[in-house]
Each structure stands twice: as C-alpha cells, then as structure tokens.
C-alpha cells in the first residue's frame, strides 16, 4: 500500500466555516482511480442517472433471474436452496462460529489498543451527528425489527428446549430444572443478540469507514480489499465483491420486508380483526415503501435520523413500560444475573469445535451468524456513513458494547417477563402462540395492552421503514460506484424495487426459500469479513498516530 502524507489543514487564505476543519494529518491511499470513472451518466425521460455500469446491470439481472426462478419453480428450487444452506450450516458451522469469535476479539482488542485513539475521518474530524442520533440510527438499522419478534420468542424457546433437555437444547440443557433452564435460555438468547452480531457489523462498518474517510477510497465493499488486491479492486474482483453486497442487501431486505408484512398483518388481525389477506399485506408493503421513499428524499439527516429517533424513543417507552408494570424486581435483578450467565456461558457457547449440542450450534448459532453476516454489508455500510468523526475506541464502545447491553436489557425485559408469566402465573398462551403473536400475547397479560400492542405494531412498521430507507441508500451507493451524491431518483428506484419484489414473492410464494438463499451469501461474506479484519489492522497501523 503506497501512502502519501497529505497535510489536510485548510488553505490559509480562505478558511470556510462550513467545513469540519481542520482535519489534521491523514494518510490517503495513492491511487489513480477516480470515483465514478466507470459510471454511466445519462438522462432518461428527464431523469438523470449516474450508475456503475457493470455492478448495476449484473446485480439487477442476477436478482431478477433469481426472483423469476424462485417464483416459477418454487417446488423444485426450494429444496435446492435448503440443501445449499443445510450444507453450509451443517458442515461449516465451525467456520461461522470461529470467524465470529475472531471478530469479537478484534473489536474488543481495538478498544484497549493504542489504535483505538485513531479518529475516523482524520485526527481532528468532528462527528456529523449527536450521540443520540447516531446511536438511534445504528441500532434501528442493525437490529430493531428482530428484537420485536425474537425478544419474546427466543428466550421462551431456549427455555423450553433446555427444560426438556432435547437435542436442540443449548449446551445440553438443564433437564427438569426450571431456574437453570431459564438462566440457560436467557444466556443463549443474549449470546445470539449480544457481542457477536454487533462485532460482525462493527468489522464491516469500521473497515468501510476507515477506507473511505481516512484513505480516500469510494464508500464501497471493494475498497476494503485494497490492501490485498491493490489496483485490481477497480476491476472484476472488485465488481464481484460489490455485486455480492448488492445481492445480499437486496435479498435480505426484500425477504424481510415480505415476511415482516406477514407478521405485522397477523398482529393487526389479532388486535383489530383486520382481514389477514394478501390485500392487507400488500397495502402494508406499499405503505412502508411510501414512507421509506419520503424518508430517503428527505435524506439521512431529516429522514432516516428522524425516523430512527422516533423509533428508539417509542421502543424505549415500550421497554420501560414493561419494566414498570411487569415483574420489575425480577427484571432488575435478572439483568445482572443474565449478564453474568452470558459471561459464564460465553466460552462454551462460542466454542466452534466438538460441540455436543449440534442441533443448537448449527440450527441456531450458525444460522444466526450467517444471517447477521448476510446483513452486514448493508448495516455496516450505513453505520460507516454516519460514523465520521468518532475515534475507533468510541466507535467500538458505541457499536459493540452499548448495543449489546441494550440487547441484554431488552431480552431480559421481554423474555424474562414472558418466562415469568409462564412459570409463576401458569400462562401457557404465551408459549403456545405463533412466533408472530407471542409479543402481543405477552403484552395482553399486562395493563393497557390495547395501547402497548398498538405501539408494538407501529414500532414493527417503523422499524421496517428504517430498514428499507437505509437499505435503499446503501444499494444506491454501491451501484453508483461508491458515490453518495448520485441523483435522488435512483434511491427511489431501489425502494420501489424492494417493495415490488416483496409483493411478487408474497403473492407468488417462495419468500422463505429466497431468504434461505440470502442467508447463504453469509458464507462468502464471512471470508470477506476476515479479509476486512486484516485490512482494518493494516489500515489503522498506517494512520498517523493521534495525540
């Protein structure tokens, strides 16, 4: 990697106030590549376009082909997708688990290492967003929706399997021991929503941010490979990496949008008796897409940030409401107990080799890791874009530790309350309800359930909007060769494509099959992420040491 030092102090005679200057010294990578040099710029029907020809065309065609194939040959193709994914999680579970451990170790190491002092965007760069706005955005993009559905479901499921001692029990379970099973269930859940997923996001986000803001390369997955591939990243190897990122992002978002609409519709049927038909779900997807379009037109600051803040405020209100009216003392003590249990069980849960609970480690952990990793290009790129001006240490504490703690609190509150309802009050409905209704059944046992359930549905919808809008921004940026200033209609195009594909798959079937395929992209991305770890260390080492 050839570096040339650049003094980034502003011009003496014309300092501009608007610029976050002075930025201090940074080491730009010396390359002749000009961002957007491979782009096609044209005006079609009065709309300006600025796209990376190869990445845009190939990823669009591949995505369309996959969707058409899935729709046309559902019965034939679903087993193929399942077999691919079964092979990956069955035979390569150790690889996913080992890789995720490496990510966690790297991230924690960076917090304590002197490299943690390095600032994203140059030594004197100023953050673009407040802590609250920044955290809201990264949390809403990273996890939001999953917490709504799995917050109740997963603790209950792991508790059940642990209590029964079946082959799906984490670490062999705690057969017949209610307290032990509850503790193990919570630890296993927190394991899947704690340090590991956030470390996966942090690795992608930090590598992208570092190579864009400090090294001057385009905000695109391929840039992370510069230390290894050199100038070749601007050619086909780079195109393939970016195409894979588009593929993972678009399929991840589309299938989640479709499945999420199914779940939100189930909630609306349960609460208001709305008909659980295709029409309800299509209207939901259209509604979500329209709000997402408004949000991306308003931009990151006024659209995505605002929605994310509203989202987090509502989620916090719901969380504290459940803490207040639920088993408050149990949640308060449970928080620390669960945290301790998590730490105690962490080495065993994250052990990649010689697992005796293969069903759990392959069916749950490896599946989750592949899922998080397939989402990581999108979440990581979005986090990268809003993280300029933070030091590496600040970044890691905020992207790794704080969200993990919030996950512990969330899981303790929702899962703990549900387990308590089942164990202490003998309410079996919570356990027996379908996955999309468990949250609502749990809330029903608490006061004001009409209001809280309504808030929960709105939250689900807004979480989807924040996924859809930030996802469209990310896909647009990758397909525009790393440009974040491509014409607005392109963003709208991607938001509409996501909605349209979700509707097509919802009506034609095959959502679950395609989701399986999307998660399979987690495998190649795990390799990309391992490279990113190397690139992060190499990139940070070449940064000027900050004071």
């Amino acid at each position: 990697m050839d570096n040339k030092s650049q003094d980034k102090s502003p011009d003496d005679k014309a300092p501009s106030e608007g610029i976050p200057a002075p930025e201090g010294p940074a080491n730009l990578i010396d390359t002749d590549y000009v961002i957007g040099q491979d782009n096609i710029t044209t005006t079609t029907m009065g709309v300006n376009l600025d796209l990376h020809g190869k990445v845009f065309t190939i990823s669009s065609i591949v995505v369309l082909l996959f969707v058409i194939l899935t729709l046309a040959l559902q019965d034939e193709i679903a087993p193929v997708y399942d077999a691919v994914f079964g092979f990956l999680t069955g035979n390569l579970a150790w690889f996913f688990i080992l890789a995720a451990n490496i990510f966690v170790i790297l991230c924690i190491g960076l917090i304590f290492s002197p490299l943690g002092k390095i600032r994203i965007g140059g030594a004197d760069a100023k953050p673009d967003f407040t802590y609250m706005g920044w955290f809201s955005m990264l949390f809403a993009a990273g996890m939001g929706i999953g917490l709504m559905f799995y917050g109740v479901n997963e603790p209950l499921t792991h508790f059940g399997t642990s209590f029964d001692g079946g082959s799906w029990a984490p670490l062999g379970g705690a057969e017949g021991d209610e307290a032990g099973a509850a503790a193990l269930g919570m630890a296993a859940t927190i394991f899947h929503w704690g340090l590991h997923p956030w470390a996966i996001y942090a690795v992608v986000a930090l590598s992208l941010a570092l190579f864009a803001f400090n090294k001057g390369l385009p905000l695109s997955m391929r840039s992370v490979f510069y230390p290894i591939l050199g100038e070749r990243v601007w050619g086909w190897p780079g195109h393939l990496i970016d195409i894979l990122a588009v593929f993972a992002t678009l399929f991840g978002l589309t299938t989640s949008l479709g499945l999420g609409a199914t779940q939100a519709a189930a909630g609306m049927t349960y609460l208001f008796g709305a008909p659980e038909t295709d029409v309800t779900m299509i209207l939901l997807i259209i509604g979500i897409t329209i709000i997402a379009i408004c949000s991306i037109l308003a931009g990151v600051d006024k659209g995505v940030q605002l929605l994310s803040k509203i989202n987090i405020a509502m989620a916090a209100a719901l969380l504290f409401f459940v803490i207040a009216v639920g088993p408050t003392l149990l949640i308060a003590t449970g928080f620390f107990e669960n945290l301790l249990n998590y730490v105690v069980h962490l080495p065993a849960l994250s052990n990649p080799f010689g697992r005796e609970d293969a069903n759990f480690s392959q069916g749950w952990t490896a599946f989750y890791w592949a899922w998080w990793i397939s989402w990581s290009p999108y979440v990581g790129m979005f986090i990268a874009r809003v993280s300029r001006g933070r030091t590496v240490r600040e970044f890691m504490v905020s992207v790794l530790l704080v969200p993990s703690i919030v996950s512990v609190l969330w899981m303790t509150t929702f899962g703990g309350t549900a387990i308590d309802q089942y164990l202490s009050q003998g309410i079996e409905a919570v356990r027996d309800a379908g996955i999309d209704l468990q949250l609502f059944v749990m809330l029903e046992q608490l006061p004001l359930s009409q209001i809280t359930s309504f808030v929960a549905i709105v939250l689900v919808i807004v979480f989807f909007v924040t996924s859809s809008d930030s996802g469209s921004l990310v896909i647009d940026s990758i397909t525009a060769g790393g440009k974040v200033d491509a014409p607005k209609p392109q963003r709208v195009f991607w938001a509409i494509i996501e909605g349209a594909l979700a509707i097509a798959l919802l009506l034609g079937g095959g959502l679950t099959a395609l989701q399986t395929m999307a998660v399979s992209t987690g495998f190649p991305f795990t390799i990309i992420l391992l490279v990113a770890c190397y690139a992060i260390i190499k990139g940070l080492m070449s940064e000027p040491k900050a004071v």
């Binding site: 011009d11 014309a14 501009s16």
Partner: protein
C-alpha cells in the same frame, strides 16, 4: 443594488454551469459586487475530491480562475454533508444567511414533470430566502 453575489457551484458538473458563469461575470461587473462561489460536497470521497479539504482547494482554484476572467473580488465557502443530495437546498439557504448575500445566481434546468415531486434546487431556495434569486436556464 447588489454587493455580494452568491453562485452555487457543482464542480462535478461544470459544463451545465458554463452559460450561467458569463451572466454572473456581467452582473458582478455591472454592480461591482463581490462574488462568492459556494460548493456543497459529501463527507465521503467523491468524483471531484477525496476529502472535503481537497474539494475546498479545487473550488478555490476555480474561483481564482473566474477572478482572472471578470476581475471582481472572489471568495469561496464549502459545506460538507453526509447526504449532500438531500441537504443541498437547506445548506444553500444557510449559506445565503452566513455570507450575507443579496443576490443568488444559479444555473438550473428547464421545467419538467419530475419537479412536482422533486422541485429544482433554484425554485426551492427562492421560496426560502429574502435574497433575490436569478435562475439561469440553458439556452434553447
């Protein structure tokens, strides 16, 4: 009548700006006004510059070039943004206030249907400022 003319500049699309620049030079000379060129760029690397500082240097070079042409005093101001495409109108309105300009001269495109959903920057800026706004369309 006009003391400080503000001219938003997109260094990535200078060709669309060319006709407007001549008019700006004429107006600057006519009123003996200072001309401030304003640039809005992304925080991330762009096709023009890899850092906002590099963008600033390029805009300054552009302004000096224009000074050679029209001889009026020039200055520049750069704003960097996470999402420049979405924030450009707000930043231009902010720039008008901060610079204390009394006339904004902007190149713009011909009216089109898309303007209903996504209004032109010039049109939007004009509705949000007290300063005079002069929109210069490409010659037919």
């Amino acid at each position: 009548m006009f003391n400080n003319i503000m001219v938003p500049v997109d260094l990535a699309h200078l060709e669309t700006l060319e006709p407007a620049l001549d008019v700006v030079a004429d107006m600057g000379k006519r009123y003996d006004a200072r001309i401030t060129y304003v640039g809005i760029t992304a925080n991330t690397p762009t096709s023009v510059a890899r850092t906002p500082q590099e963008y600033e240097q390029k805009l300054d070079a552009f302004a000096q070039e224009r000074h050679q042409v029209h001889g009026q005093p020039v200055s520049i101001k750069v704003y960097s943004s996470t999402d420049p495409v979405a924030n450009v109108d707000d930043l231009l309105v902010k720039a008008i206030k901060e610079i204390g300009t009394d006339l904004v001269m902007m190149a713009t495109h011909l009216p089109r249907h898309l303007d209903i959903v996504m209004p032109s920057h010039g049109g939007k800026v004009a509705t949000h400022t007290d300063a005079s706004v002069f929109l210069i369309r490409p010659a037919k």
